[in-house]
């Protein structure tokens, strides 16, 4: 027997897709259900169908809900060892390449894109890198472009940076002003920000590295497999690297035969 909640949520996601084109129909049901109920409570809607009615009539409700659905919690140098491994891999694989294209898919507010720029700068290869940073949500992209991150996070980020093998003093990369840390413009010079939807949009380049962390935990298995098998596999060059979140894996994807596991613990994979 299907619960009423389940039916109503399916209908809500269908309505969103038909009205606005955002396709959340294959998101992990248990997580999206929680997010919908949080939203209903915070915005004082009476029920799922009450929300659906408002959302169809009023685009600003959709914008707010989109923020709830798409916010992806992130940090600078999240799981520092992930970056330590990448530092080694980049030295082995990319030293002699004329250009290196890196795609941060689902970059959220951009903390990991700036982390990558810092790491590449310290490796002395940032000038030949292009960092493509995309997210489904225009608001978080704008925030990423501002180069400003909360000053209150800098203590943690400094520790992460050092744990990731950072070679300088982290504070050299930003200027403190008011409650924000403004990161140096140099770091952003090779970043290209754009709105991109992993579910409905196609690839737009061929990449040496694709990084997509803690996005798949919100997709169901079918959707995750589809994005890995089609979009990411097709977007990576042979020998290219795929980096996932620290609890995400490829084991359910058909692509395990297409990817070699480089680091099981820190989730680095290489296209065969």
């Amino acid at each position: 027997m299907i619960e009423n909640d389940h039916i109503e949520i399916d209908l809500l996601l269908e309505a969103i897709y038909r009205k606005y084109g955002y396709d959340f129909r294959n998101y992990a049901y248990s997580s999206i259900k929680r997010r919908i109920f949080h939203f209903i409570e915070n915005e004082s809607f009476k029920s799922i169908s009450d929300l659906q009615g408002a959302l169809l009539k009023n685009e600003s409700v959709m914008e707010k809900l989109l923020l709830t659905f798409s916010i992806n919690v992130t940090q600078m140098f999240r799981n520092p060892q992930f970056y330590t491994i990448f530092r080694k891999l980049a030295q082995e694989l990319f030293s002699n390449m004329p250009i290196i294209r890196i795609w941060h898919a689902g970059c959220s507010t951009g903390e990991e894109v700036y982390s990558m720029a810092i790491l590449l700068t310290e490796l002395g290869i940032y000038d030949k890198c292009r960092l493509y940073a995309t997210d489904i949500n225009e608001k978080v992209i704008k925030k990423a472009q501002s180069r400003i991150f909360p000053l209150s996070q800098m203590k943690m980020y400094t520790q992460n940076y050092l744990d990731a093998g950072g070679e300088k003093s982290f504070s050299e990369y930003y200027t403190a002003r008011y409650k924000g840390a403004l990161f140096n413009a140099d770091l952003a010079k090779n970043m290209i920000f754009s709105v991109h939807n992993l579910v409905t949009d196609k690839s737009f380049n061929e990449f040496h590295v694709v990084i997509c962390r803690n996005v798949f935990i919100y997709f169901n298995s079918d959707l995750q497999n589809k994005v890995i098998d089609n979009l990411f596999y097709g977007s990576l060059m042979s020998g290219g690297l795929l980096g996932l979140g620290d609890k995400e894996s490829l084991h359910l994807s058909n692509s395990t035969e297409h990817f070699k596991v480089l680091d099981k613990q820190l989730r680095w994979f290489q296209k065969k």
């Binding site: 049901y29 248990s30 997580s31 919690v73 935990i217 298995s221």
Partner: protein, 192 residues
């Protein structure tokens, strides 16, 4: 073997690790159901949780820190990773990095509520010692869906707040027992 349950879920906070050690030491090694454990581990900056290897010392059942979309297997023990909520979806463990609930991630309420949705009356839930009130709302959902709920006797708990909060909120808890009797209850499931 006579039982109707498909999974055991255990929530605990302060004081629960020492209970879990004894618990798994005494648990019959042929216990057939999957056991999922949610405890409040300290945020660890990317390190792995300390619980799985410790619990593994006390049982021959495999103790796993699950990845996202990990299949739930019989006779396996799963310990929720630090910094993620643990939920259930179509027979899989799914993780979420959504904000903490009542300062907790993993949150026992989140895991219990999702387990109630997924397993209904085939769920066997246990809430242990702890110094906050996480788990009470979750137990209430499990009870509403017909699951079996056991709470550690507050008299027996090192930190009684969590069991007390659950007993206060949920009127029809099936059993309030000292930790030792809870293990015996699980072991008795597999006799016969």
């Amino acid at each position: 073997m006579k039982h109707k349950y498909k999974m055991v879920i255990i929530g605990g906070s302060a004081g629960s690790l020492s209970i879990l050690k004894t618990f798994f030491f005494k648990l019959n090694p042929s216990f057939p159901l999957p056991i999922v454990i949610i405890t409040h581990t300290m945020p660890d900056n990317g390190q792995r949780s300390k619980e799985p290897p410790i619990i593994q010392h006390f049982t021959s059942l495999p103790v796993i820190e699950p990845s996202d979309k990990e299949e739930i297997l019989p006779a396996h023990v799963y310990v929720a990773p630090a910094n993620y909520h643990l939920l259930f979806d179509q027979g899989l463990i799914v993780l979420s990095a959504d904000p903490p609930e009542m300062y907790n991630r993993p949150s026992i309420n989140v895991a219990f509520e999702s387990a109630a949705d997924e397993f209904g009356d085939e769920l066997f839930a246990i809430l242990l010692t702890g110094a906050n009130s996480d788990g009470a709302k979750g137990l209430s959902s499990i009870k509403q869906k017909g699951g079996h709920c056991i709470v550690q006797d507050p008299e027996d708990a090192e930190f009684p707040d969590m069991p007390r909060a659950a007993i206060k909120l949920v009127k029809d808890i099936d059993d309030v027992l000292p930790a030792n009797s809870i293990v015996q209850r699980l072991n008795s499931m597999i006799i016969g």
